[in-house]
Symmetry: C2
Subunit: 334 residues, 2 copies
């Protein structure tokens, strides 16, 4: 069991001081080529690997980023998770993952801070103001991903949800739809709020009322239930805007397989996110695409601005979206 090889042991073997070993493994430090070689040899022979924990302790930087997530069943998030983690790895940082349960967000964030993460990315859940303050006090940058809390000291990266919602309204109206419905995600999520507000603004612009509205809670079942409810009304909608793709799939299944309704002939359906499945032929979902890669890039660069440059003021990045026309919504004739 050579489980614990320390720099001191390597130093002894290479017949140098522990400092020399440390310097060999510190990029940019001053070590003579010969010394470095001896140290490297000794290190390899003993199977030495610098202890990142000890390094963190002394340097005050753990090179770990805390990532808080939930709802990994919505495919948007796994993809973000994967790419974000990869982007961080490429820069020598790693991801400490926290899955937040509805109740214990504060508790979890507390533990996360105990691990001395250099920054926090929240890809789910909203930051309670108490916690935001704690992070601020601890000088730990926080980036809200795909959500936004006005008046909080946290940075955020979102796409233009309002514009996306507006765009959907315009598109449906241009296609001649009159009876519009909206299936909301979670009432308290900022994405839902903005998407809905944009959609509503589009209706208001032409004086059209929103005829149906239900809350799907970002779940498959909730969306399915909402759809059933809409279609049972004496005046069912002829177009449904769904707060995200994950729910839109359930809407499509319920309409087509459950109720035998033709899409888009009888009802148009538009989602939001443009997850890969939306492009799969069984769905062919017309949807609003979030610029996932750009959002991740923005997140990473924002993070590093704060971590390495020491940039301080809080920024809110809002990236443009685009409507992807596929087969679930009637196309405007023009």
């Amino acid at each position: 069991m050579k489980s614990k090889v320390t720099s001191a042991q390597v130093a002894k073997r290479a017949d140098v001081s522990q400092s020399a070993v440390s310097r060999t493994f510190t990029p940019g430090a001053s070590v003579a080529p010969g010394t470095r070689q001896r140290v490297m040899d000794a290190a390899r022979e003993l199977g030495y690997r610098p202890n990142a924990i000890a390094r963190s302790l002394i340097s005050g930087r753990s090179r770990m980023i805390g990532l808080i997530a939930a709802y990994l069943d919505n495919q948007f998030y796994p993809i973000v998770l994967e790419r974000l983690a990869k982007a961080l790895q490429a820069r020598g940082y790693h991801t400490l993952l926290f899955i937040s349960e509805p109740g214990d967000q504060d508790d979890e964030l507390e533990k996360l801070l105990a691990y001395q993460v250099d920054a926090v990315v929240m890809a789910s859940a909203t930051l309670s103001s108490a916690l935001a303050k704690e992070c601020l006090d601890a000088a730990i940058p926080v980036v809200l991903f795909n959500r936004d809390v006005p008046n909080s000291p946290a940075n955020s990266v979102t796409s233009d949800n309002f514009a996306g919602g507006r765009c959907v309204a315009d598109y449906l109206i241009a296609a001649g739809h009159k009876h519009l419905a909206y299936i909301a995600g979670a009432e308290d999520s900022s994405t839902n709020r903005d998407r809905e507000a944009g959609f509503q603004a589009g209706l208001d612009a032409v004086g059209l009322p929103l005829m149906h509205r239900a809350v799907g809670g970002y779940t498959h079942e909730g969306a399915s239930e909402a759809t059933r409810q809409f279609m049972a009304a004496k005046q069912p909608p002829d177009a449904i805007f769904v707060a995200n793709d994950h729910m839109a799939f359930a809407v499509l299944d319920t309409l087509r397989q459950g109720l035998g309704v033709k899409v888009p002939e009888e009802v148009s359906v538009i989602g939001f996110d443009d997850v890969p499945q939306a492009a799969w032929r069984a769905y062919g979902l017309t949807t609003v695409a979030q610029p996932t890669d750009a959002m991740i890039e923005a997140t990473v660069s924002l993070l590093f601005d704060q971590l390495e440059v020491g940039h301080a003021e809080t920024t809110r990045r809002c990236l443009p979206v685009s409507l992807i026309e596929r087969d679930t919504a009637r196309k405007p004739s023009s």
Copy 2:
């Protein structure tokens, strides 16, 4: 910026020694109620939070589990990730995430070990024997999730892929299919190997040949391409077994939307994994269900056996699978 509050500062404020503060935050340590109270008060006033990094250094245990993953676009893995991370959190451990690129697995695992993780779960990629040895030397338990490397010193948790493959063969044969095809995942993955071997064994049992075979590489495109190829043959298959659901969706899309083939009337399709989408009505995929929760539970208990009990011999858990009958495969008449 009270960013760095240490136990020493709390001690001074509470007028006790640093040891007392440490003991207050160490469950089971001996502290007088009054002292504990004073420490807690001081800690709250200063916003103290024990430094997990420092704790790890002295205790030799980081309470972090390294999780190596990839292919998060196959929904099976995000779900595993979420539940596994949650299960670990519940026991006071956290997940350090590593996304492995095809090339740099060894590099990444190297860095992961530098973080002094207490154990490693590999949910993707196979452990190179060099790394396996390193982990063994470092006395770090390794659990291979959903993959198995014979003759390696690593523990593994899998489902009975061979039995699953066999079961599919039996099912298709019982339904009267004669022209069978298989779409493989990655040739070198143990899941693919076992699923295929089981399937082949089923064919061998009745002397039926495998008429078509192609490698889909676990990708959507690969599976789609394979399907096209099969159907263009002069004797196309009447049943396709696909190495996982993620590819099976592509097969269905290609058959139905791309080629206008009726499923299951003209061709039966069976997948493997039973991801949530398989149950969605647009697909209604007949598939082999892996016992995800049981696999996770097994992984966690195996991990803790080694971490806290100190159990040493390597174990291989193999859990039973079950065929889920839905709408993409013709049912045997019996």
